[in-house]
């Protein structure tokens, strides 16, 4: 799952573009690999499951279904896999038309909320209550993005991708400084690296969501998780918290101090230029998703294998209310059950949830692909070169009091776009923290 998050965001715009062409696309089948034959509601004897195609996820998903079907020959699951972009369109249209598959794969958060508002997915709160054993096998922090209005509407599956602060150990040795333990340390490191012509932080500013990760952490460290929870809940004026102004000022101070590499606002994450800055030693630190590890390993030559790459959770902010164990990122992927499915189909899905999706083979499959499973007690499986990284990611994810979902995934597309737009202007110093707050209050709940 190293770069699933990437493509998801990169193609967010293009995916939506496909919507405009939906009328045309309807004329010709785009040919997803339908292995079961049931589509939509399906017959009562079998349940349908839609998910994403492509490596490394699809073989692991297919293997899970094969295991389930072998064990339950009378109640089979028929999977259909779609490319990322196609899926986003297809699933929304299918749900809207009452043709949803039994099991709906997704990212939780804002997307899940729209299904819940439309009464399209089954409330799983009671089921998890009765099946405590299943719930205990899953990292508690993964349930946040599956919960809407205090109720659980999806089962966390697959992998956890926290965002961490990566750093180049060689550059730190060269300059003779220690990794930061606090926001104050981070600011103090800026002039030290700049004096040696090294960018303190690498940032792909043109991609916008990269800038957002900074705000997510800073807000959490200064104010805790309440502020964004209020925004997510649609409370009027939720951004008008003094802590928001405080953290926006902090980030503008960092920009003014030259904390990011020269020309950061024209660097694009798709081209991995931000990653290259870190492994070439042109930048000392980089805040990025855990999938960055795979990119550093693949592109950085011997950088990772020679122990050049360091990582840590985002350090605390002095005087901040947030718990320093909190993290941000993709707390998991999610599987919901369609409320339009028959009782028999829902039972098949629940059986799938409680057996195959929490078994050891499922866990081992995702670890082998280089990801940290949402399932607990995976640590014994972390062996080989990547063991330390996997252990640390797992510990960050499992120890987090709150594993917040990326803001752009948690909010509706309209609000998310305004957010990203204002964030890029903030980093460009085109708007003041107060203007940012005013603009963002304007789209709360939209």
């Amino acid at each position: 799952m190293t770069n699933s998050s990437f493509s998801r965001r990169n193609f967010l715009g293009l995916a939506a573009g496909a919507a405009g062409a939906a009328a045309l696309a309807a004329c010709g089948s785009s040919g997803p690999s339908n292995k079961g034959g049931t589509s939509g509601g399906g017959s009562s004897g079998s349940a349908s499951y839609w998910s994403l195609s492509g490596e490394p996820g699809q073989p692991i998903r297919q293997a899970a279904i094969d295991r389930f079907n072998a064990a339950n020959p009378s109640t089979k699951i028929a999977p259909t896999f779609f490319a990322n972009d196609d899926y986003k369109q297809k699933i929304k249209t299918a749900i809207g038309a009452g043709q949803a598959p039994t099991m709906i794969w997704g990212w939780g958060g804002g997307g899940l909320k729209s299904y819940v508002d439309g009464g399209q997915v089954v409330d799983l709160t009671d089921w998890f209550g009765q099946n405590a054993a299943v719930k205990e096998k899953i990292l508690p922090s993964s349930f946040g993005a599956a919960t809407v209005g205090g109720k659980i509407y999806a089962m966390p599956i697959e992998t956890v991708q926290p965002i961490v602060l990566f750093y180049n150990k060689k550059v730190f040795d060269q300059v003779g400084v220690q990794p930061p333990q606090s926001w104050g340390d981070m600011m103090a490191l800026v002039p030290k690296f700049k004096a040696k012509n090294i960018a303190p932080f690498s940032l792909a500013g043109q991609s916008r969501w990269t800038n957002m990760m900074w705000l997510e952490f800073l807000l959490d460290r200064t104010a805790g998780s309440d502020v964004f929870n209020n925004v997510f809940a649609g409370k009027a004026g939720a951004w008008s918290d003094p802590a928001v102004l405080d953290m926006l000022t902090k980030i503008q101070d960092l920009v003014k101090a030259g904390g990011f590499e020269k020309g950061f606002s024209s660097v694009v994450a798709d081209q991995n230029a931000d990653q290259a800055l870190l492994f070439t030693g042109k930048a000392a630190m980089m805040l990025h998703g855990s999938w960055s590890y795979g990119i550093q390993k693949a592109n950085g030559g011997k950088f990772v294998s020679s122990g050049g790459l360091g990582w840590m959770n985002f350090p605390p902010v002095e005087g901040g209310k947030g718990d320093p164990s909190n993290t941000v990122g993709n707390p998991g992927q999610y599987l919901s059950i369609s409320s339009k499915a028959t009782a028999a189909q829902q039972d098949i899905a629940k059986k799938f949830f409680s057996t195959t999706l929490v078994d050891d083979q499922e866990k081992a499959g995702w670890v082998k692909s280089g990801g940290v499973p949402v399932l607990t007690n995976s640590d014994s499986l972390f062996t080989g070169d990547d063991a330390q990284f996997l252990k640390d990611m797992s510990s960050i994810a499992s120890k987090a009091k709150v594993f917040a979902q990326s803001w752009d995934q948690a909010l509706s597309p309209t609000a998310a776009d305004t957010l990203l737009d204002n964030i890029s202007k903030l980093f460009q110093l085109q708007i003041s923290p107060q203007q940012w707050v005013d603009n963002m209050n304007g789209v709360i709940g939209k």
Partner: protein
């Protein structure tokens, strides 16, 4: 609806004697008219219709009257993106026109080495905008770009990351791509100037400069209008180039109207306001094309007066 054809020149009513012939001529226009209808007019009407609705691109389309228009006209991003569009339009016209005319005049002379140069000049025309943009983006990268590669500090500017520089870089890349095309048009125009006029001027003792300003420039007046119309209307629809180079950034410094439309429609899922922007784009384009045509005069005076 991106590339609108410049409005057709009004033709004088055919005389009674010529009516038989004009019938068959009208037939010939039919295929073009059909294409224009299917891919120009019908989508345009669709967009006009959508601008009076609320639609997230996926669910059902709700007719909501003027809601989308009101929201769009109140949005401060609309005047900003209009401003950016005009800025790019005017700057790129100012840069491209003199260079294109000079290269066109230079290439118009029948000399072998100029023919060879002409081939070189036209190479950018063979490349797609996206390929050009990606190449320039890599060359101008402040950390791994041309400046670092050649060790020339001056080239290490924050070309695309600074609000002031980014728009000039855009104008430069646009010009790099389209100057060859406009040079080609001017080359053809200059070659059509009757040699007798230039010879007469020479006999009267006019120097190169005088010939250029008194004969060449007035003679290519209509070509200048044609080329300007193409530049101005074309610059309204710049999308791919800006999208790849800056994506409208830094902040919203280079977010032209076409990018604002894309952002509204496909990023924020607001198809109604996005359609309203599309309609505004069409209106601005038509208006500008008309204006430029007026500038060209009535079009019935002879260019060969005194020849």
């Amino acid at each position: 609806m991106t590339a609108l054809a410049p409005p057709a020149v009004r033709v004088k009513e055919p005389t009674a004697a010529g009516r038989g012939r004009s019938g068959s001529v009208a037939w010939m226009a039919l295929p073009a008219m059909l294409m224009f209808f299917a891919f120009g007019i019908i989508p345009l009407l669709g967009v006009l219709g959508l601008s009076f609705t609320t639609w997230d691109g996926i669910g059902t389309i709700h007719f909501t009257g003027l809601t989308s228009w009101k929201a769009e006209l109140k949005d401060p991003e609309l005047p900003h993106s209009l401003l950016v569009t005009f800025e790019i339009m005017i700057l790129s016209w100012l840069v491209q026109t003199p260079i294109s005319i000079l290269i066109g005049v230079f290439l118009a002379a029948f000399k072998r080495y100029r023919g060879f140069l002409a081939v070189l000049y036209f190479i950018p025309l063979l490349l797609s905008s996206v390929a050009i943009s990606i190449t320039y983006k890599a060359l101008l990268d402040p950390n791994f770009g041309l400046g670092t590669g050649l060790g020339v500090g001056f080239l290490n500017q924050d070309w695309l990351g600074s609000s002031k520089l980014a728009i000039w870089v855009l104008v430069f890349v646009v010009s790099w791509q389209y100057v060859p095309f406009h040079s080609l048009i001017y080359q053809g125009a200059v070659r059509q100037i009757p040699v007798s006029m230039l010879e007469a001027a020479q006999i009267d003792g006019a120097g190169r400069l005088r010939q250029f300003f008194s004969i060449t420039l007035p003679q290519i007046k209509y070509t200048i209008i044609t080329s300007s119309t193409l530049m101005v209307v074309g610059s309204l629809t710049f999308f791919d180039l800006i999208y790849v180079l800056t994506n409208g950034g830094p902040g919203d410094s280079t977010r032209a109207l076409a990018l604002e439309m894309y952002r509204k429609g496909f990023m924020a899922n607001l198809m109604g306001p996005a359609s309203a922007i599309a309609v505004i784009l069409v209106l601005v384009g038509l208006l500008l094309a008309q204006l430029l045509r007026r500038l060209g005069g009535r079009g019935d005076e002879s260019q060969l007066e005194g020849a």
